[in-house]
């Protein structure tokens, strides 16, 4: 039963008699996102070998970190079959609040951000679960509200962290295995989410909600609270993304670094094999998805695509990457 929940979201958990084709599909589902990333990286490395040897990978990790964090939160919400269009706005608000609070509060400021914006995420979840409002519409609304809050709190300008910026310096200034600590923090959080989904009853219950919510509810699971948890995790991950933005820029603004995370993060989650319909999420593949999505613009620039053509390349690569990795668990594709 547990295997059926986690590995084979098909209607029949006929594991022993699975056809070779089905087994190949399952293998591709776990390895596909990695393969897409590796192929892209090899393409870039063939055209521009210095990219891999000369610090290109570190730039990639730095760029991918905030996208990865927002994407991990998004993947958790997608996992229960919802979507969170507001979580990138939560990340920017987190960055602005942190830039303001770092001076007066010092090391307590990141904690404040984490608590405050996890609560914002939870409010999204509570509204979806208990007012029974579809998440797409609701979070489109909270996106508008949060953008306005960011503009008002920052007075529509750039907020510079005045003191205690040293508290966050270690995140991007100390490298482990050639990549900054901030990147490894994001990877560890991904690992934690992977453990949550694969090794805990709560995580399994979230999977059940994503695959068959009616069934989950009749099985006695508290599906509404599991949805609230997913949105709260999305808020928490976005709050950490905001912390990374300030650690990188020592400042924050509604239009500055990290203000366009929503689309890349959704793309990262989906290129990482997450199903929009729910129940199929591998946080570790989301890490790879974020690396792929970040590699496309950097790689295009490295191999000499003119800057005018970059969004064209970005759009096409995303569609192809998703076409290769999208889990096809349902016959109807909306």
């Amino acid at each position: 039963m547990s295997h059926a929940l986690v590995d084979a979201p098909s209607t029949a958990p006929d594991r022993p008699t699975r056809s070779p084709a089905a087994r190949a599909l399952a293998l591709w589902q776990s390895a596909g996102p990695v393969a897409v990333f590796v192929v892209l990286l090899i393409l870039v490395a063939i055209v521009q070998p210095p990219f891999v040897t000369g610090g290109g990978l570190r730039i990639l990790a730095v760029q991918a970190t905030p996208i990865m964090l927002v994407a991990l939160g998004q993947a958790m919400v997608l996992h229960v079959g919802s979507i969170d269009l507001s979580n990138a706005a939560i990340a920017i608000l987190s960055a602005i609040v942190l830039a303001k609070a770092l001076g007066p509060l010092g090391a307590a400021a990141p904690l404040l951000c984490l608590v405050l914006l996890t609560a914002v995420g939870a409010v999204n979840g509570l509204l979806v679960a208990f007012a029974q409002v579809p998440s797409f519409a609701l979070t489109l609304g909270t996106l508008g509200v949060l953008q306005a809050v960011s503009l008002v709190v920052s007075h529509a300008s750039t907020v510079y962290a005045t003191a205690h910026t040293g508290v966050l310096d270690f995140l991007f200034e100390i490298d482990v295995f050639g990549l900054p600590i901030a990147f490894w923090v994001a990877v560890l959080l991904a690992l934690a989410l992977w453990l949550l989904l694969r090794r805990t009853a709560t995580g399994r219950a979230m999977t059940a909600v994503g695959l068959n919510e009616t069934g989950a509810r009749f099985a006695g699971l508290r599906t509404q609270w599991l949805r609230v948890l997913a949105f709260a995790l999305s808020g928490a991950m976005a709050a950490v993304a905001g912390i990374m933005i300030v650690a990188q820029a020592q400042s924050a603004s509604s239009s500055g670094l990290g203000s366009d995370l929503l689309i890349p993060a959704i793309a990262a989650a989906i290129v990482g094999g997450t199903a929009l319909t729910g129940g199929v999420t591998n946080p570790l593949n989301v890490v790879v998805g974020a690396l792929t999505v970040s590699l496309v613009p950097i790689g295009a620039q490295t191999i000499g695509v003119t800057s005018q053509a970059q969004s064209l390349v970005y759009g096409l690569v995303i569609v192809v990457a998703v076409a290769l990795t999208v889990p096809r668990v349902r016959s109807i594709v909306k």
Binding site: V80, G81, S82, L127, V128, A131, Q132, V133, P134, S135, F136, A137, L138, L140, G141, T142, L143, G144, V145, L146, Q147, A148, V149, L151, V152, A156, E213, T214, R217, I263, I266, A267, I270, L276, G278, Q308, A309, Q310, S311, L312, V313, Y314, G315, L316, I318, V319, V322, A323, V326, R328, S331, I332, V333, K334
Partner: protein, 332 residues
């Protein structure tokens, strides 16, 4: 979304439900409140023309977006389609960069660009079986990329004063030409939705795609067609927005995705598909545009305007969902 609650509307659209009266009532209330707050500026001929001119682009986009959402899909590509079509239009028209002047041919080519992008979305969605959400997200960037490539590295092309630049805001029939164009497209959209196979198929696919397939309907073909229509609407909106701006910009459509989808949802078209209609989206667009216009006239800071739109969206969907609340209802 449980399929059992989906009913393909067979009743006459003239039968107005109390739900629709809610939005119309909210619109009337807004007009009354803003008239009271700004007695000398809100209900003036100039301001009404401004509101109608501002509403024209989201109305045109709303027609395509509603058809796609009725089908249970989503089209995120509007801003990219607007950019690509708008840039094609201006570079083939009489402009300060002196590229080529095809006259009305420019509009035809720009329309073709929009239809082609819609076709691309539809084919990728149905042939590769990739969710429309992600396909149209990709096509959004493809459209922006086409616009940026066409723009190149040269100076900004401007439309000469007068002529087509002034056409949208001219009002020989009392209301601006831009709004008349939007009205024509809305009426055409209503007729298509009600009386053509394309429109009925959009409702049928959104109501229950499996049932539509099981009945042997050519679901994929009509899905592609609806995306082509949406691409066409995006192209018209891009051409109109470029005329209004008077200059070529790849980002001419920025902000329109949020407004359009919010208007469709506020109007009461279900994101799950099958329920709603273009007439509802018209009310949703007018609500948002009147609200923004009234807030500006009332001196509200532009910083909080997105919060007001967002709050209206939340209240509208919460009010719509409230009577349907049920312990066993699945809402994602």
């Amino acid at each position: 979304m449980s399929a059992a609650t989906h009913v393909v509307p067979t009743a006459s659209p003239r039968r107005v439900s109390p739900r629709e009266l809610g939005e119309v009532g909210a619109l009337v209330l807004l007009v009354v409140v803003f008239t009271a707050l700004n007695p000398s500026t809100f209900v003036t001929l100039t301001n009404i023309r401004t509101v109608l001119d501002q509403a024209s682009v989201p109305l045109i986009l709303g027609v395509g977006a509603t058809l796609v959402i009725l089908m249970g899909s989503i089209d995120l590509s509007v801003e990219g389609v607007m950019g690509a079509a708008g840039m094609t239009f201006i570079l083939l028209s009489d402009n300060t960069r002196k590229t080529v002047d095809l006259g009305a041919g420019a509009i035809v080519v720009a329309l073709a660009v929009g239809l082609a992008l819609g076709l691309l979305s539809g084919l990728l969605h149905t042939r590769l079986r990739v969710p429309s959400f992600i396909v149209t997200l990709g096509v959004w960037f493809v459209g922006l990329g086409i616009a940026t490539l066409l723009f190149g590295e040269s100076v900004i092309p401007f439309l000469p004063d007068g002529g087509i630049k002034a056409w949208p805001s001219h009002h020989p029939l009392g209301v601006p030409n831009s709004f008349l164009l939007a009205l024509v497209i809305v009426v055409a959209g209503l007729l298509v939705a009600r009386f053509t196979t394309l429109g009925r198929m959009a409702y049928a696919i959104g109501g229950d795609e499996q049932v539509a397939r099981d009945n042997g309907l050519a679901v994929d073909r009509y899905k592609v067609l609806v995306f082509v229509v949406a691409g066409g609407c995006g192209a018209v909106a891009g051409i109109l927005a470029t005329m209004q701006l008077g200059a070529g910009s790849a980002t001419v459509g920025v902000g329109n995705l949020f407004t359009t989808i919010a208007a469709v949802v506020i109007g009461g078209t279900s994101l799950g598909g099958g329920r709603g209609g273009i007439h509802r989206t018209v009310v949703g667009v007018l609500l948002l545009v009147v609200l923004q216009n009234g807030l500006v006239l009332s001196g509200v800071s532009p910083n909080v305007q997105s919060a007001v739109s967002g709050a209206v969206l939340i209240v509208a969907v919460a009010a719509a969902a409230w009577p349907l609340r049920d312990r066993l209802r699945i809402v994602t």
